[in-house]
């Protein structure tokens, strides 16, 4: 039983302490966290703060290109990054089902630590809870994050104007297909790995162009189709994107054809969509392409006056059709 989590690990006493000592502290080495206080206390310069939270319930926990730990760090870092924030501090909350192997917690802690280090963010506070068998599925993680935002950064739909160019930072749908291919009950093999990555490493190269960046978001759950609709509705502009410009790997397209999925709605965990001033689009595109996370970036469309709040796609064969938000939950527990 020593190799597994049992309910007593959640009792707040000796066993909890053992769990923290063996599975978390060796991996989360931040000095603030090691004070083991009920809170992390730190100084922040006089500046604007970005704050976000996200929960992760991905199934399976380990998938090609990552695991729930890496995802939990990148997901929160990315939510900060696309707002133009520099991620600084993260929290991590673990809800663990009894019987979960300690070895797997260690692996997950280790990859969280590595992802945080890559992103340059610090995991400064954490919590664990253990629940009875069946009360949660293996392991859920919540992370929150704090970042700082420069005064001259103001990204958001309110700044999107007709005539802006829409840039996508790379291939669509890799994360969704990586998860599907590793899920029980769907037997297919691909070489696709999740694109899970900390986007602040890419955004930092774009911040010198902040004046020309109108809005940025990362197309996670709901995919690109949903993201574009959200921005269209919030900004009141229309959008046209071009099917032949959308970067989709052949294997991803193949999986979509077989399973009846649409790459436009597949989740991504290391991509961003930027709405940029037309005149600066090429410069920003080149800046993205210089960065490994934006190597395959391309302009996929533009915003326009009409139809206000709607997204249109010009199809490969020259027809046009509407793109709506994702409606059905095609792929539950993808992140």
């Amino acid at each position: 039983m020593d190799d597994y989590v049992f309910l007593a690990h959640g009792n707040g006493g000796k066993f909890t302490s053992q769990l923290i000592q063996s599975c978390f502290l060796p991996y989360f080495q931040d000095l603030i966290l090691h004070q083991l206080n009920d809170q992390a206390i730190f100084d922040v310069d006089k500046c604007r703060i970005a704050f976000t939270t996200d929960s992760f319930v991905v199934d399976p926990l380990f998938f090609p290109g990552g695991d729930i730990g890496k995802l939990a760090v990148c997901g929160t870092v990315n939510d900060l990054a696309v707002g133009g924030a520099i991620p600084l501090y993260l929290s991590a909350g673990f809800i663990i089902e009894e019987g979960f192997p300690l070895e797997e917690i260690k692996k997950i802690s280790s990859s969280m630590s590595a992802a945080a280090e890559e992103a340059g963010a610090r995991i400064v506070t954490a919590d664990t809870k253990v629940v009875e068998k069946g009360a949660c599925d293996k392991l859920f993680i919540n992370t929150s994050g704090i970042g700082i935002v420069s005064r001259d950064v103001d990204f958001g739909p309110h700044r999107v104007r007709p005539g802006d160019k829409i840039i996508l930072s790379g291939y669509l749908g890799d994360h969704g297909v990586a998860i599907l291919s590793s899920r029980e009950g769907i037997a297919f093999e691909t070489s696709i790995i999740s694109d899970c990555a900390p986007l602040n490493l890419l955004v930092s190269d774009l911040l010198p162009h902040a004046h020309a960046l109108r809005a940025m978001r990362d197309p996670t759950r709901g995919g690109l189709g949903t993201l574009l609709n959200e921005i269209a509705r919030q900004s009141g502009t229309g959008m046209t994107i071009y099917e032949e410009l959308l970067p989709v790997r052949e294997e991803v397209q193949g999986v979509c054809e077989i399973l009846g999925l649409d790459p436009l709605y597949l989740p991504n965990e290391g991509k961003l969509v930027a709405f940029v001033e037309r005149g600066h689009a090429e410069v920003i595109l080149q800046a993205m392409r210089q960065n490994p996370l934006g190597r395959d970036a391309c302009i996929i469309g533009e915003t326009m006056d009409k139809p206000a709040g709607k997204v249109i796609m010009e199809t490969r064969v020259g027809g046009s059709r509407m793109i709506d938000m994702l409606v059905a939950e095609d792929l539950p527990r993808i992140c």
């Binding site: 399973l259 010009e314 020259g318 059709r321």
Partner: protein
């Protein structure tokens, strides 16, 4: 991607489109029978390219959409029974989960605790039966001639492996009888058919000969890519203008005139033809497939005495007229108001191949 990209290119499509536009502008209504065609037309924006005198109307070829309300209710009743007694694992294809019954859906029953699982293949349901010997695994089977042979194969596998805790509820239907009903209906206007590619891969061309001979309507067996559909439309227009209705195969990379003999043999080894209830059509004689008597141990309806209740379609829902191509979805008063993909009233809004869902998603 091979066999796909070359059928999604602008140049050849524009060339065929030019030929269509060069024909005399005779108003025609062409029915694409299959839901996959409907989605492809909407998704590729073909309607926006065709001249306005060519009306493409959607037919009854979405198996989820034509499953009658009573047949959905029958499985929901079984799900409610499952919730109370934990005897069954109910399995089905994903789209069936959200189809509303008279008062609830399988998805809602699952949320309340019934063991209902989505499978991608009936073979997965059979595997589930092997892994759960103490439970009965029931597969809620819908589909046309395309999917029926795989169900037949699964039943034969269950029989040869001696698996006794697996059964199906068969709602399988046959396409050609529904096409004939449409032509007999005085309220429909159909000048020719784009026939379903994958159904035809099984049944071949013979069943459509009757439609040509008896009703004088052309039938083109079409592939599903934009170029397939536009080429089939052109060929059908030529037939109409030259008054030479016949069966043609456009989807020749998959379909052979004689169909798939092996699949058909397996199908009719397990199933016999029976009358079937279709949403929007009522009962169509000889349009369904029921398990033969020797396979009754695999027929959940026989095994557990399940009968489909008599229920009427939801008030205001005009799925029936959509399925017959009499109206297009925006003409239904519930479309995009009370009936949306998130809160569907009729099955045509639920299925990914449903006409209303395709219009809602791509053509609003």
């Amino acid at each position: 991607m091979k066999y796909l990209d070359e059928f999604r290119v602008k140049g050849p499509l524009q060339a065929i489109l030019a030929k269509i536009k060069a024909l005399s502008p005779q108003p025609v209504s062409l029915m694409e029978v299959c839901g996959t065609h409907t989605v492809s037309i909407s998704k590729s924006g073909l309607r926006s390219l065709l001249p306005s005198h060519i009306r493409l109307i959607s037919g009854p070829g979405c198996p989820v959409c034509v499953t009658s309300l009573g047949d959905v209710d029958r499985v929901i009743m079984l799900a409610a029974e499952e919730r109370n007694h934990k005897r069954f694992i109910i399995t089905t294809f994903g789209d069936m989960m959200r189809v509303p019954g008279s008062s609830t859906s399988l998805m809602k029953e699952k949320a309340k605790g019934a063991d209902i699982r989505i499978v991608y293949s009936p073979a997965d349901a059979l595997t589930m039966a092997v892994e759960n010997p103490e439970r009965e695994v029931v597969f809620f089977a819908v589909g046309f001639e395309t999917t029926s042979p795989t169900i037949a194969a699964t039943v034969l596998n269950a029989q040869s492996a001696g698996i006794s805790n697996f059964s199906i509820i068969s709602n399988h239907k046959l396409i050609p009888p529904a096409m004939e009903v449409l032509l007999e209906d005085a309220t429909t206007t159909i000048d020719g058919f784009l026939c379903p590619g994958h159904v035809s891969a099984i049944i071949g061309t013979r069943p459509y000969q009757r439609i040509v001979e008896r009703y004088g309507k052309g039938c083109i067996i079409s592939g599903f890519e934009p170029l397939d559909i536009i080429l089939s439309t052109y060929r059908l227009m030529l037939q109409i203008q030259e008054r030479t209705p016949r069966v043609e195969i456009e989807y020749s990379r998959v379909v052979q005139a004689e169909g798939n003999g092996k699949a058909l043999a397996m199908l009719y080894k397990v199933f016999s033809v029976t009358d079937a209830r279709w949403r929007g059509f009522g009962t169509i004689p000889n349009s369904g497939l029921a398990l033969k008597e020797e396979f009754f141990p695999y027929d959940a309806a026989q095994k557990f005495g399940l009968t489909a209740p008599e229920v009427s379609d939801p008030k205001g829902c005009r799925c029936d007229q959509v399925l017959k191509g009499i109206i297009i979805p925006p003409q239904c008063p519930l479309f995009a108001t009370r009936c949306t993909p998130a809160e569907p009233v009729g099955a045509c809004m639920v299925s990914s191949e449903g006409t209303c869902a395709a219009y809602y998603k791509y053509e609003q």
